[in-house]
Symmetry: C2
Subunit: 213 residues, 2 copies
Amino acid sequence: MRWNKISDAVVRRLPLYLRVLDEITTEDPHKSLISSQELGDSSGVSPALVRKDLAWFGEFGKQGVGYEIGYLQNELRHILNLDRTVKVGLVGVGQLGHALARYQLSRMKDVHFRIMLAALFDSDVEKWGQDVDGVVIRPIAELPAVVQSEQLEMMIVTVPAHAAQEVVNLSVNAGIKAILNFAPTNLEVPADVRLANADVTLELQRLAYYLGV
Amino acid sequence: MRWNKISDAVVRRLPLYLRVLDEITTEDPHKSLISSQELGDSSGVSPALVRKDLAWFGEFGKQGVGYEIGYLQNELRHILNLDRTVKVGLVGVGQLGHALARYQLSRMKDVHFRIMLAALFDSDVEKWGQDVDGVVIRPIAELPAVVQSEQLEMMIVTVPAHAAQEVVNLSVNAGIKAILNFAPTNLEVPADVRLANADVTLELQRLAYYLGV
DNA sequence: TAGATTGTTAATCGATTAACAATC
DNA sequence: TAGATTGTTAATCGATTAACAATC
């Protein structure tokens, strides 16, 4: 890590800021400055927190003026490693995995989106060799070799719950350092691997709490 | 809300606990007791926090003994409103929406899963009347009427970013109190409506932060 | 009874907000 | 210069952990 001990809460907001800046450069290319107030309003964060978040990484603004949009954009992309192509794999090309794969691949038309889905894996013999928008589906046994040869850095896991830990172990041993998990199960990873859970069922269940009786 | 001021952080962990209990009753039906230690280990939460979370809602355990699994399961289901059927709609039956719809519908075979996808909406004339595993796709214009007639309580939003706020407004005006949003945009909702964001792109971007240079 | 484990209080830790001097 | 807005420190708020009396 290039900056020490930045909290997860801070990192989670950076892509939000970047998205707002990207929207502005598209919709209003003439606009060159933005205040923490405006950036906060557009991303749902308080102005004070916007300034504090950005200040962890440097002095990007000018007092009395605000932040230069293009400059801040570049800085945020650099901080998030999005100023280079990041290659990601996906394991489990079922209903959900297939849709996520196509969704990711469709987003790559976007100039700003530098996360590239470069490999698909599945355990089903029938699927091996099949093609999803130009990316071929391979056996899970090939995962370690492909992580190396394709230089994959992240893995999306959309296998059934009972298979997820095994797939994660395989990925971690192959050198993967960031995993996005959609399987409805609690996974163990070493401390140096980042795991993000995106279990839709869990989200719906917690939302149900807020419904009336 | 039936309990006052329970924090979001607490609510977020309850479905985790419930999932662990459901797994245990399936895999080892003879087991009848569980300690906060064990429940914590299985859900990735410290034992002290497990006890504190549960204590907000009542005294569910016995000192020196632990928690009775079946009883705790029932209590958690009740707290989460999962002891009744909760009906949910989905707007935007594109690639991702279609997959999520089928995924949700497939999960309803599960006895414990009481969240029922009961309506689909799309703006595309071509899709109206089409059927996804038994649920028909309707025009978005019909959303308010269907929310009433079908008693929908939650809405899953999988429309493009530029259409999301409008769909959310329509849903909120129709009485929806909980929204799961997959569109990559910041949405405004009234204070009494719960909004959960599940933007895959944002998750991948924040994970990219943790990759080396 | 002795051992185990809860429910709860106090201590700690961390994140957000408020406030303002610096300065463009 | 006067007004605006940053970067930063101090104050506040909230969540987690530690510790232990209560008690099964």
